[in-house]
Symmetry: D2
Subunit: 205 residues, 4 copies
């Protein structure tokens, strides 16, 4: 489990296929067999450079994620993936919200005070008989949520390309880095080559 921001995390729960399945699937096209690690790495490089995405769909990952709602909203825009999230229709919101490290004292006081009052109001409304699904209207966008994310290698790399980018919001960049580090252990050849061919050239551009 990798801690992210003040209360978030990312954890890899399951992984399937990895480097071997992607290489096997790519080779099916030509009915070819692997001729060693170097050849396999070159093949991965070729696929990434030419934008041949389908073999990467044979590697699949499931993550457990805890993140503020405004980050989850950006995340869920990635439609080629599966999501199962805690529902605030059925669950009572926990008093957990994002606090940036970068706040100066005055901002921090205003921030914490506001978020605490929002949870106070939420709890009062629920106690007064309002349904949770409606009372959540007063909860802040910084409230933490948790979801399971199942994604294949092609869609994962698309997520990383956009969310590791320096134009992405800083907060989701932190999650993307944690996701990337965990994927790297499961599919080291793919993720190394992806880093060299896609991620690092973007950073310096």
């Amino acid at each position: 489990m990798v801690a992210v921001l003040n209360s978030g995390y990312v954890q890899l729960l399951e992984s399937m296929g990895g480097d071997a399945a992607v290489i096997r699937n790519a080779r099916r096209c030509w009915r070819s067999e692997s001729s060693g690690e170097d050849a396999d790495r070159k093949l991965i490089r070729h696929l990434l450079r030419q934008g041949h995405k389908s073999p990467f769909e044979a590697a699949v990952f499931t993550y457990d994620v805890k993140t503020p709602l405004f980050v989850a909203r950006q995340w869920f825009r990635h439609r080629m993936a599966s999501y199962n999230e805690e529902s605030l229709r059925y669950c009572t919101a926990l008093r957990e919200y994002y606090i940036p490290d970068s706040l100066h004292e005055e901002q921090r006081q205003l921030w914490v005070d506001q978020q605490e009052k929002a949870f106070d109001a939420y709890e009062t409304l629920v106690e007064s008989g309002m349904r949770k699904e409606q009372a959540r209207s007063v909860l802040p966008l910084g409230t933490y949520t948790r979801f399971f994310w199942t994604v294949n290698g092609s869609s994962l790399m698309n997520f990383l390309m956009l969310r590791l980018d320096r134009h992405a919001q800083w907060e989701i960049q932190q999650f993307a880095q944690a996701i990337f580090a965990l994927a790297r252990k499961e599919a080291p050849v793919i993720m190394d080559e992806f880093d060299a061919i896609v991620v690092r050239p973007h950073e310096s551009s």
Copy 2:
């Protein structure tokens, strides 16, 4: 434009294909020609009953939607559709938030007071130099957002089946009814049959 909730709306911007395209596409399978309105209606009925979805993808709709964020979150879970939304990374949030009609006086005072304070805090944080994308953490989930939604007939009916259902949250049901009413003008045969075969049997069950 159909007004929904206290400040929301739904508007149909563009529509393509309608009943005629769906009937034409379904008939391609058998290389058959239409033999009149009755036969066409029976064909639509057959497709809906058998779960043959692909011909309905030839009818496409684009809506303009204004809705609270917690409703938008439910909406965006429908992945077979296209979304373009106002971004609170770049736009300053407007002081517009959901207020349920059903609140009794005490609840209403607490609700409005809390939401106004949240926007006060947001504005103070932005004025103090915080980036909008970060300051939005204190905004409430009841804040209104606007997005364009492009969806084909098959995915639209799946949305309506789930969101017109009495188990759906009341607020998104209101939007689903407005969406349905507007689609009905563009594809009356499809939407009438869908109503009779899918929507009404669910209501009474």
Copy 3:
């Protein structure tokens, strides 16, 4: 590996998640924990009856399939899945084609004679310098092809519902049965309940 038709097969290569991941993902929504096998089975049953599909996306399967081209064409219509297929642009077609068991002698002679001549023509054209990608125009739709298929549990059940059905072509039904039998070992609770709730009621209707 399960043999299907005269020269086809289906093999399960990888599987992820299974029953446990689906149950875990479904429970996230309510932040609930499993209370035993019976409760888990009831939950699966509830999801299937209500059409809650997203938790089933946490179970993922990769198959190796060898099937005639006309079956592959039906199979590839299922868009929520990943495919890597041998390409007859780059590979020389092998002389392997479908022969139905049900042919009477006269039909069989005509059939085999025709298919052999098609491969003769293909080979002659390739030898005369024609590119393989063009020469394949004379190959029959009964030619065998091989592909890897990665599919999640939700999309797999949709495939099975349509292709186990007695209205599906007999040949793809045979493949669907082999796919189903192999999935059953990986996700026995899901597939048993799916059989009871979806497959068997269809058979008798």
Copy 4:
């Protein structure tokens, strides 16, 4: 209708949104209004260069296509689109097959002879009582088929990028060019910029 190959064609049946919808959708993100044609063109250019695809999903196109089966197989690999095709389970195959222009006399004789015999065998088998869905096993991959194709601007450009490319099979390149020419009339700014930024740099690389 644009004729392609010896008996194929491409026809645009419906189109929705075009340049205007894409520009409108892109501007929603910043809550901005158009400030003239030059600004709009620059915006399109920016979206294409940055890989911002979602606004292009507001432009939607439906085509009627007649193409050999081996081309259709490549086409249907593009999963982010809708297909309705003539079914050879229900329709009798017409004696229409691809003949390349480039054949020298000897090849042409072998080709035509082989394809005619394949249709002869098909017809004999059907007349002998075999179901059409099974008899099609002897039909050649060069047999023409017809389908309706509904695709949004983002997915269309992905198709064009891959299928206009000189590494694509020559036959599908011809169809891609016809598709491109017809899209150009419906969304001239998008398709011009796409040509300049994506298609032409690829050609010369």
